[in-house]
Symmetry: C2
Subunit: 319 residues, 2 copies
């Protein structure tokens, strides 16, 4: 809670970043919020830095000038539907390697990187850190798993410490169009048919504000390692869509399950075991799915800055 | 065996690269041998390209100009004693990410990357691909494991194929000073005391020409995945040193076991299970340890180009 903790937050205007920035400020961090887009209009009191992290020179200069002690690295390619297999994952990996190296070689002490449940092997049981094998099936999952190792190497070369937040399926106000929940809401609201896959996939949805709080808790913790960030509970996409229809008072018949082919990588079940983060931090999910969905259908308020096109995304959440 | 196979070999003047280049040429590859140093004097008939792979622009230009169908990526930081924990591992990882991306995004079809037994968890049993956990304990091991995932991601984004050669402990003519076997030979030859650690560490030594042949066999194979490249047999450092003393007719009393502290990461046993590479390729180790050590003490001949300061190295082989 001292002024000497300066955190560099990448992807600060992304879906998760927008929730993290005010939380970090409230915890007393000196926040340097990095974005490739223009800073938001309500940027008062925060240090926004516009930087293209994919530019090696700009990235090194940013670290040299800002001299952060903490790093929350959220930025990545997240375009819905595309990020799974896009070549841009490689550019973000290279950028992340450079950033991790520059950070720990300079003034960096503690980093949290954003990983993904897509790093795990497919498993019907809840995913457990250090238990469920790391066997990513997608380009995105492979690049994220590589990024985790790269951060570990960078931290190891300089005696820094590191937590890796394996995000499951974040949702909430500010979520980008093209993802499952916003698309279902929009379709139902407009009275249009919503083409869905079979909808029996079980996912672990975590409210974005909860996920952001988990990242901040991990940044303030001392322990190293990977931590699942989820709700710990699975729900099928069909149940989620039906819940949304009830909350909106919409015709559930608009939900056309089976009208869309499931993507090639679409495991039946992806659920987090969250015992480790609950043990090592004071964090626990606060917002139940029903409440989170209710908030997701409210008109957007000023709680979080307006989302941009580069939201943080995780696989499997587009139905 | 057609002229349409053009292979880019990085680290071509390194310890392993020097053995790989002539083997690749003999197999009918159109070889583009990349080195950051000047090409060797006996470079007749080979296309040498001087390139600093750590320079992003130079790396991209190299791939664009040479248009390789195959990639054998050997270059890495290998300075004995230093490479374990050096920050330069991050620069080589970033370079490798860029190279893998550029290669597969252009004309790349098949790559072999050079991994390491340092990726595995410590295990008294032989290391098995897909069995022994990937739990690197060193900066070098973490960066190599990250590189494997990065290559998988790059290949996956473009439908390319990839084998990952996890090298155990290569030795043979051309091995750099500062590593165990050359240092023991030099000391015994000069009649000087050789300060060694306790020497009970068991390692899997593989003759460099055998290791190079394994890389070439993997490049010509179709299968994807990680492959151990070792002899499949463990021997203690003490046994190796005693063998060298006998072969040199030197006084084994010069070997001062216990005179040096063992490094902080120095597992009791690192031995390869080589069933997978034997199953999927025609490769098998040809040179028994006793023969390989005999060749290592011969005056250097012209079989392999003269080694440079940047030899390919693996952990734990400095006693």
């Amino acid at each position: 809670m001292t002024g000497s903790r300066r955190v560099l937050v990448t992807g600060a205007r992304g879906f998760l970043g927008a929730y993290c920035v005010p939380l970090l400020a409230a915890r007393g961090f000196d926040v340097v919020a990095v974005t490739s887009a223009p800073p938001p209009p309500d940027a008062s009191g925060l240090r926004w830095r516009r930087c293209d992290l994919l530019d090696p020179t700009a990235c090194a200069a940013l670290v040299a000038v800002e001299r952060p002690t903490h790093l929350l690295h959220l930025a990545w390619i997240t375009a819905p539907g595309v990020f799974w297999s896009a070549r841009e994952n490689m550019a973000w990996l290279a950028a992340g390697v450079r950033l991790a190296d520059a950070f720990f070689a300079a003034t960096g002490e503690r980093a949290v990187g954003l990983g993904s449940c897509a790093e795990y092997a497919v498993s019907d049981a809840p995913c457990v850190e250090g238990g469920t094998p790391i066997e990513p099936q997608t380009v995105y999952g492979k690049a994220k798993a590589a990024m985790h190792l790269a951060l570990q190497a960078a931290a190891g070369a300089r005696g820094g410490s590191l937590a890796w937040a394996r995000l499951f399926f974040p949702y909430g106000p500010g979520e980008a169009a093209g993802r499952f929940i916003p698309d279902v809401i929009r379709g139902l609201r407009q009275g249009e048919a919503v083409a869905c896959t079979h909808g029996r996939q079980v996912r672990d949805f975590v409210f974005a504000a909860d996920a952001a709080a988990a990242c901040v808790a991990l940044l303030e913790a001392k322990q190293s390692g990977a931590y699942n960030v989820g709700s710990g509970e699975g729900v099928s996409l069909r149940e989620v869509a039906d819940l949304l229809a009830r909350k909106l008072g919409a015709d559930a018949g608009l939900l056309k399950f089976g009208a869309r082919k499931a993507p090639s990588f679409d495991p039946p079940r992806i659920v987090a075991d969250i015992a480790r983060i609950r043990r090592d931090t004071a964090w626990a999910p606060q917002v139940a799915l029903s409440d989170g969905l209710a908030r997701s259908i409210e008109p957007q308020r000023a709680r979080a800055p307006a989302p941009t096109a580069t939201v943080q995304n995780v696989p499997g959440a587009t139905g």
